[in-house]
Amino acid sequence: MLAGMDSFQATIDADGRIEPRDAMPEGYRKTLIRQIAQHAHSEIIGMQPEGNWISRAPSLRRKAILMAKVQDEAGHGLYLYAAAETLGVDRADLLDLLHSGRQKYSSIFNYPTLTWADIGAIGWLVDGAAIVNQVPLCRCSYGPYARAMVRVCKEESFHQRQGFEILHTLCNGTPAQKAMAQDALDRWWWPSLMMFGPPDSASTHSEQSMAWGIKRHSNDELRQRFVDMTVPQADVLGLKVPDEGLSYDEETGHYRFTEPDYTELYDVVKGNGPCNQQRLAHRVKAHEDGAWVREAAAAYAGKQASRREGSAA
């Protein structure tokens, strides 16, 4: 019989799943809390760039779809906060850490959505990159995180398709619409590549996370997978990926591409992206503006409970 940490390692070695009340190294717990919280924060901050276009969607159909998508992002945030809470933290504390800037969210959401085509580009590229990152997380060694990711991945595929459809429509429209789509690809391509994190040579958390079965592939592997998947899709749209160094390598079956400028990634993570302050300020305001709803719901629940006690006595 294996107890405590021996049991943990045996489970990891057998590619089994760790469940909430199992013994686990403190580092494993902390790494997961940090990663799941950051992931949850990204989902709810990610509602903002798209929410920006709900009132200006070009048709009722697009508007209904966009609202459903933004609602999904809220749902994804909730699945993930619930998964983080199984590790012994409280959602309210995680939100405090986000609001005070002590926990991060994906730097991609610090870029602005300037045109309607950006909504297409986010679905196609940003959700596309998220899917490449998230599919392996469905096999993450921590059960609640893996289960949340299964739900998220199922829903993300609608997000990616609706984005592609927006761009496909624009690309088959007027020259101005096609130019708008190209402009969106030009601006979102490099930040999308940065979503996979720093190159393997500079990634600080990767090795231990791989050993613990939290991470299944390296940043560079996933980035390559994304490029291989996306370039042929750009061809279908008739758009040009803004990388002069892009070429198909017959021998390896992979595209060669130019690495993004990682100094920009570090800079945006540090808080110097175009929208960092706006995103956080909006999140804090939404949370504070909603305080009365939480208070009213709690007061109502308290009143109902005391009435039930009164009638039972």
């Binding site: 019989m1 107890a3 469940e19 009340r21 199992d22 013994a23 459903a68 609602q71 999904d72 749902g75 909730l78 699945y79 619930a82 998964a83 809470e85 199984t86 409280d90 959602r91 309210a92 289960r147 949340a148 739900r151 829903e155 939480r294 208070e295 719901a297 709690a298 109502y300 629940a301 109902q304 409970a305």
Partner: protein
């Protein structure tokens, strides 16, 4: 003010049992049910939802799982595969 945690169970269709799908915070059972509908059944994943206060669940301890489940370990005769069936016997 911390809203209690609720565990959510969804029956995906008639004929199947409720299955745990996740958890959420809500001030009371009515709100928990409504939130569960919005969070866990946006795509018609269910025909019935249970919510249970997480604090009301009693669970076996993972530390004692070996001792706890031990009694079944040496009773392989509870499985049909334990028995030898003579050649040619059918429907057994």
């Amino acid at each position: 003010m911390i809203e209690p945690l609720w565990e959510v169970f969804v029956r995906s269709r008639r004929g199947l049992s409720h299955t745990h799908v996740g958890s959420l915070h809500a001030p009371d059972a009515t709100m928990a049910l409504r939130n569960a509908r919005d969070v866990y059944t946006r795509r018609q994943e269910g025909v019935s939802i249970w919510v249970v206060r997480a604090a009301d669940i009693t669970a076996s301890s993972p530390d004692e799982k070996d001792e706890f489940f031990d009694p079944a370990g040496d009773k392989v005769y509870r499985h049909p595969t334990f028995y030898q069936v003579p050649e040619g016997v059918e429907h057994l």
